[in-house]
Amino acid sequence: MVYVPHTEAERREMLAVIGVESMEELFQDIPAAHRYPQLELPEPLSEMEVMQELQELSAASLNANEAPTFLGAGAYRHWVPSVVNHIIGRSEFATAYTPYQPEISQGTLQAIFEYQSLICDLTGMEVANASHYDGATAAAEAVIQAVSASRMKRKKIIVSPYVNPQYRQVIHTYTQGMGLEIAGEATSGALAELVQLVDKQTACLIVQSPNFLGELESLEGLAAEVHARNKKTLLAVATNPLSLGLFTPPGAYGADIVMGEGQPLGLGLNFGGPYLGFYATREKYKRNLAGRLVGQTVDKEGQRGYVLTLSTREQHIRRERATSNICTNQGLMALAAAIYLSTLGKQGLRQVAELNYQKAHYAAQQIDALEAFSVLTTKPFFNEFVVQCPAPAAEINEFLLNGWMFDIIGGYDLSKDYPDRQNQMLLAVTEMNTRTEIDDLVHALAGFEAHRILGGDHE
């Protein structure tokens, strides 16, 4: 029997010790009418057959690492150094549980302590937790932190329309029973306009930089403006952690919460998960923070070590009064991010961030030079920018994928989330896109123009 080591003789012996005759007797508390259903499931396979099937399924999709890819919009194709998956694949890390017994979990605990430290350094903040599920849930937790810090007195939150639409949707989902007013999404997204909405009832303002369109928001002075209107309103900033290798972190601009999607830090695309929600805040809010926290302490002999701490915030003690219901988080993904940041280090992270910046700008310049395409992004940007196209983005993507000489995975169709952004495409360029790939994309887009002029539309 796969994964069950018992022999028939052992089974009999064990049943005798228990004092029952058969396996079925063990289940006598289960209503007889419902006992032992016939499950309609495929027949079991050998490991060889399972892998053959899965290899076929793997080959049935187009691997974005094997085609020039310009798709981002919240998940990015970056190089993952070999050491990352090598280390997180080790049984000692992968097959351990949440570190409830610190004496035999120092590896996990210290790695998370290092991760928390790295996230603080990267974001310019003072306290980081051990992770949330992803960027979207981290954004929702920021709302909950801000609202619960006000003891549910301030129930208005303001969200920029250029916060990742998935983050905004998850904020709505999480807070649907909390009776909040969510403002700001129908504005132009200009920071000045958002700040004007801050009033006595406002728990937090959430912006994103680089925002969903790839632009760096001008965060200088924003915290002061928000706090001038209401000193208790928190400024929460979602960010791309890789961009912080190059740009001033939100913490240095006075943000109260900095969070976002940690996937760019050494996590593969994996069709959307598991990713990593990183989350950092100010020292004074550490007891409002959700999720696990690792702290440094000493053992009884004075040796330095690490434990899960401030657990009186958590659900196993506080139950319904807990700061959140988080139990399992993204431990192994946080480890991957810590390894990634440590491998690249101070210089490497800046170099990779700069590669993203430079290649994206080169691509934008080349595309903007095309007759029928123009780049709409005017603010500084990191690795994504918006292109106005001569046709719906979906049509262009279809051409890039199936109408060109080889498969190109095009950009994100912004009209899906912003109905007034017809014919607009969000393109992402990372260090993985070689100049040849970028030039090919530009040729293909030029080819799309030619294809239209020649009447390819009738296809």
Partner: protein, 486 residues
């Protein structure tokens, strides 16, 4: 034995990587936006690898030995799962790719949805929730919206038995609902009289952990469900303990309306030292359109009659609970596991999980007090305390087990048992392994009387001695601060 922090290994000028050369013309950087300092460590690749290798050696893991943490289902994580999840056509897929280019991945998601529906007896399934507690939140939001959409605006209460996971009340509170706790009776079942006294038209539903955290199957399950349904409420099943029921009973058949699965428990995916998990939620027919979106649907393509898979958002969806479609990497592992086992393998999994738990219970009962002594399911709870060794506590027994090279059980949970030790051996432990654990527990019970200090001082041979957790909470140090800037 301790390891320096990665920051302490840093030497200015080192790096563990060499990024590619820039192959495009330079664009000027916006100097006013550039950061001035980036205090990350600077280490070589070899120093980094040795650092993490040494850290790994400070961990105890499932691949070291028995890890019978109650409620956590630390069963063996088959290596074929890892091989499957590492295939390039899974790891390399961008979640926003055109559906036509990700059919292999959507097929797996669709199949797993169908398999979990079949295993649990449900009409609909979402794979999106990221963990068990996230599935609970999803489930409570579904129940809440269902009641609101049928005009039952006054329903604001979720009933939670005191033998439930602590995440149940926390998830309820996050959903803006009121929690009312229901006590357990002397047999460890939900106290029916107490339940009846709380049933009213204010009840959204009941959250039931069954088997509960005492490892007991509620003997009045069908009656409880009927009572809650009669008053217009729904019943949520906490599926964290599903390992006892695979192929034994389908919770949906018994009338459970919503339930989350824990793929990282029941379906053998590694826990990763605290995640990633995955908490799919199954629902009965009337709740299918409330699931978070999107779910995967099968369509037959007109052109070639091959099945085609699409992402679809249910009409009355509570909304997405996270980015994208779920923890796909975990989903592939669980799918692989179910393909390896089939229906019979799943049933035998549950049978042997329950066999191992009852066997271990019988081997130590009498020596350890068993507060609710019945046939248990996949786990059981004993008191880690002896009347004639009053100074020894459950924590001391747990720490002493570490000295003997095994992982302790869950302790001090559930809260309704004094000095609880909650033990879940799982089916993948052999009789020899369970016997060894029983002998250690018996030996420690003797030590508790003869040499209590051995327990109180334990562990003696772990990488560190007992940690000062009070100091950690009173003077929190939550990040590395270099000595010169303290």
């Amino acid at each position: 034995m301790s390891e320096q922090l990665i920051y302490e290994l840093s030497v200015p000028g080192r790096s563990g990587t060499r990024p590619p050369k820039l192959d495009v013309p330079l664009t000027a950087l916006p100097t006013e936006l550039l950061r001035d300092k980036l205090p990350l460590p600077e280490v070589s690749e070899i120093d980094l690898v040795r650092h993490y290798l040494r850290l790994s050696q400070l961990n105890y893991s499932l691949d070291h030995g028995m890890y019978p943490l109650g409620s956590c289902t630390m069963k063996y994580n088959p290596k074929v799962n890892e091989a499957a999840a590492s295939l390039p056509g899974f790891t390399g897929l961008h979640p926003r790719q055109d559906e036509a280019t990700v059919q292999g991945a959507l097929y797996i998601m669709y199949q797993l949805q169908e398999q979990l529906k079949e295993i649990g007896g449900f009409a609909g399934m979402t794979l999106q929730p990221a963990a068990g507690a996230h599935g609970e939140l999803t489930g409570v939001l579904i129940m809440r919206k269902y009641q609101l959409d049928r005009g039952e605006m006054q329903r604001d209460t979720i009933l939670v038995p005191d033998s439930a996971h602590g995440t149940n009340p926390a998830s309820t509170h996050m959903s803006g609902l009121r929690v009312v706790e229901i006590p357990s009776d002397e047999r460890g079942n939900v106290d029916l009289a107490a339940l009846k006294s709380q049933l009213s038209d204010r009840v959204v539903g009941l959250m039931l952990t069954n088997p509960n955290t005492l490892g007991l199957f509620d003997e009045n399950l069908l009656e409880i469900i009927e009572l809650v349904h009669e008053c217009g409420g729904l019943v949520y099943g906490d599926g964290a303990n599903m390992n006892a029921l695979l192929g034994i009973m389908r919770p949906g058949d018994a009338g459970i309306d919503v339930m989350h699965f824990n793929l990282h428990k029941t379906f053998s995916t590694p826990h990763g030292g605290g995640g990633p998990g995955s908490g799919p939620v199954g629902v009965a027919e009337q709740l299918v359109e409330f699931l978070p979106g999107p779910v995967v649907r099968q369509a037959i393509s007109v052109e070639d009659e091959f099945p085609y898979y699409t992402l679809h958002t249910p009409t009355q969806s509570i909304g997405p609970v996270k980015s994208f479609w779920g923890h796909f990497g975990v989903i592939v592992r669980a799918y692989t596991y179910i393909r390896m086992l089939g229906a019979e393998g799943l049933r035998r999994t549950a049978e042997h999980a329950v066999l191992n738990a009852n066997y271990l219970l019988r081997r130590i009962e009498g020596v350890y007090h068993v507060p609710y002594n019945r046939l248990c399911q996949h786990e059981f709870v004993v008191e880690g305390h002896f009347e004639d060794a009053p100074e020894v506590h459950a924590l001391d027994i747990a720490k002493r087990l570490i000295d003997y090279g095994v992982h302790p059980p869950t302790n001090y949970f559930p809260l309704i048992v004094h000095e609880a030790l909650m033990i879940e051996p799982t089916e993948t432990e052999s009789k020899q392994s369970v016997d060894h654990y029983a002998e250690l527990l018996l030996k420690i019970a003797v030590e508790a009387r003869e040499t209590p200090e051995l327990l109180q001082e334990a562990p003696h041979n772990a990488p560190v001695r007992r940690m000062d957790e009070i100091r950690a909470a009173r003077q929190p140090i939550l990040r590395y601060v270099p000595v010169d800037s303290r």
